[in-house]
Symmetry: C2
Subunit: 83 residues, 2 copies
Amino acid sequence: MKAHVYVTLKRSVLDAQGQTVAGALRRMDFKGIADVRQGKYFQLTLDGSLAADPARAQVEVERIAREVLTNPVIEEFTLRVEP
Amino acid sequence: MKAHVYVTLKRSVLDAQGQTVAGALRRMDFKGIADVRQGKYFQLTLDGSLAADPARAQVEVERIAREVLTNPVIEEFTLRVEP
């Protein structure tokens, strides 16, 4: 079973990487892209005990995302645990 | 309208960042995580013309992901265009 965590900078934080990508797309003549935000993506493979209990997996992955993968001062996260 | 692109290292490529995170989780006594892979996440905000035509948006975002956001030698991508 897999879980996916997406970490992005908060809206209030300047995203220099995203702006650089957006600028590159403009210069390369890609149309229709108003904004780009860049973040981190983590794919966690859950083993035995956690994979067998989706409710506990959700709680545990959320704890990992909050305590380890995200810097709460400047970042926020969303997550998805595969059913 | 938003599109989401997830870029990860190919399975055959050593993911040092992911292994470092997995090791840290083990040392911090988080149980049940067999493996971690780390990648990049791009959130694209589509404007007018592209937002009005989901089929074209899908094609265009796939082109951006393939030609700009991904290094095809070592990376692969998945994408999702919001309906």
